[in-house]
Symmetry: C2
Subunit: 322 residues, 2 copies
């Protein structure tokens, strides 16, 4: 049987994988993203290499691409991507021509949400054609809105940009050009920044993990230190978790979904992140005594959510659905 | 032909009206809302009087009720209403029994949005089964979300509570029990508070309009003074307009609608409110150079939007639709 392949192209890494109809990941290939100051052609060469490595000579029935950037509502073009060279380019048709196969394209957060919807934490919502918010806490916040069991893409295909909702007036400067954006307070970057600011103020395991150089601190180090009981790392998670709950309360006030799913690297901390978030959600959500507050749960698919969702997307496209 | 009647029960006033299929308002009746510290029965007596006055002996085909409060997703119960005595009460069935006619129930912001969708500023969105955000700026912010040309009510029927999204951490205390809610900065109350705080600091027409007593200041006074060129009143509109744009940018980032409609008493100021809002929206919205920024327009139906929408709602219910 011909393969369906998902490719997740992020700001730093490319992950490609064969994915079964059940969402199981087979052979994978990894590459480094070349950055945005290169020819678009180079990115496409790298994607081609990764796809060829996964295919390994077998026939390919379709390739789904999860891109870290704005994808138009029709899934044809990458309008803009902060870490990739694509600017308003019809990536889907170009790659379909190049590869001679069906290609489907969406942004990475939408693909991760599709994966959770079909095979993960939002399965029940999918079955019941319900509503859910799916967040991916990585470098920033990826977001997707599921309404009536389907992705809501919006007029420009830009729905779900929750990370750039302003939560602090004149707050921290954001890469988007704005300030006080939610992802400045609730993301992997926010976690590391928070922990970094506390280094030197209090004795902490983090100092040892980063070799005394706060610039070398990473999210996984904060997660590991929190696991070991380090108070500074735990405070950083408490702060990010609190902001998670406050922002989720805003989204729930607006959409009233049945479920909120949180994935991405930061969610590896599990309840250390989610418990303070649930407390803040309950406290901040308007009318919470008079409503069913949606469960705030961890995503199930981990770092492969993007490729699983992208492969599912192209499976549907090949079947004439979207 | 039997009448379809809409009733809008707000925090201070009850407005009832016969409404044609085209959304034209016929005979109206007005009452005062008795407040929340009375028997539910008393409110229902007042609604009955108002409906009887509108009917004036003619047969009634259905009554639609727009209530200022949380209505459940099935349109059966008022779960909670800050200004009304109803607490989790099955208002719809009770009034249908009492009046022996079809009764439909929804919250006032949803009814206003339905009216704009069928007969007002969101007609085109309705025809194209598109997406829109509808805001009603009165005492607070009423909100509704139109998705695929239909109201999105959410799991609890509480979608669209945009006014209680937190925009300022540890901000102004809100009646909902939270703090820093958007409606504390962007509403009729916010307008009056802002103007009040400037009285005494600068010479202003407002001082004369409120007889030298800032406690007597009302929203319409601020609107009138701004119309006369009063700078303090204009600053108050500029501030509320700025907050309107910032909050709308948050909603557009999340939902990416084709249109944003602003109604309610504060919108009577027209571009004095909407121009600063458009500027702030363009500036605050993520990726605005790469997207179609939705038009931010004034609602068309004025203070009768609620009764028009409620009557439309019961017309659909009587036809077996919802």
């Amino acid at each position: 049987m011909a393969l369906f392949i998902g490719v997740d192209i992020g700001g730093s890494k490319v992950l490609a994988a064969a994915v079964s109809a059940e969402g199981d990941v087979g052979r994978v290939a990894r590459r480094t993203t070349p950055g945005r100051r290169v020819e678009a052609r180079l990115v496409e060469d790298i994607l081609s290499e990764a796809v060829a490595e996964v295919a390994d000579g077998e026939p390919v029935a379709g390739v789904g691409i999860a891109a870290a950037g704005f994808v138009d509502a029709d899934g044809e073009s990458v309008l803009f991507a902060p870490h990739l060279p694509w600017r308003d380019e019809d990536v889907r048709a170009r790659l379909a021509d190049r590869w001679g196969t069906v290609v489907a394209l969406d942004n990475d957060a939408n693909c991760a949400a599709l994966a959770e919807l079909r095979h993960g934490a939002a399965r029940e919502v999918g079955r019941q054609a319900g509503d859910a918010v799916v967040l991916t806490l990585g470098t920033g916040i990826g977001g997707a809105l599921i309404l009536g069991g389907r992705l809501h893409r919006g007029r420009n295909g830009m729905a779900g940009e929750f990370g750039h909702m302003q939560v602090v007036p004149q707050g921290a400067a954001c890469e988007c050009g704005g300030s006080g954006c939610w992802e400045q307070y609730c993301s992997g970057n926010a976690l590391v920044r928070d922990a970094r600011e506390r280094i030197g103020l209090e004795p902490t395991l983090l100092e040892r993990l980063c070799g005394g150089n706060p610039d070398q601190l990473t999210g996984p180090m904060v997660t590991a230190a929190a696991e070991e009981g380090d108070l500074v790392a735990r405070q950083a998670f408490a702060s990010v978790g609190e902001w998670l709950g406050v922002g989720v309360a805003n989204l729930v006030a607006a959409f009233d979904p049945a479920l909120v799913v949180v994935g991405g690297g930061v969610s590896a901390a599990g309840d250390r992140l989610l418990e303070p978030a649930r407390t803040a959600l309950q406290r901040s959500l308007v009318g919470s005594p008079h409503r069913v507050v949606p469960p705030l749960v961890r995503a199930e698919l981990g770092p492969e959510a993007g490729v699983v969702g992208a492969a599912g997307l192209v499976r549907s496209a090949a079947a004439g659905l979207r």
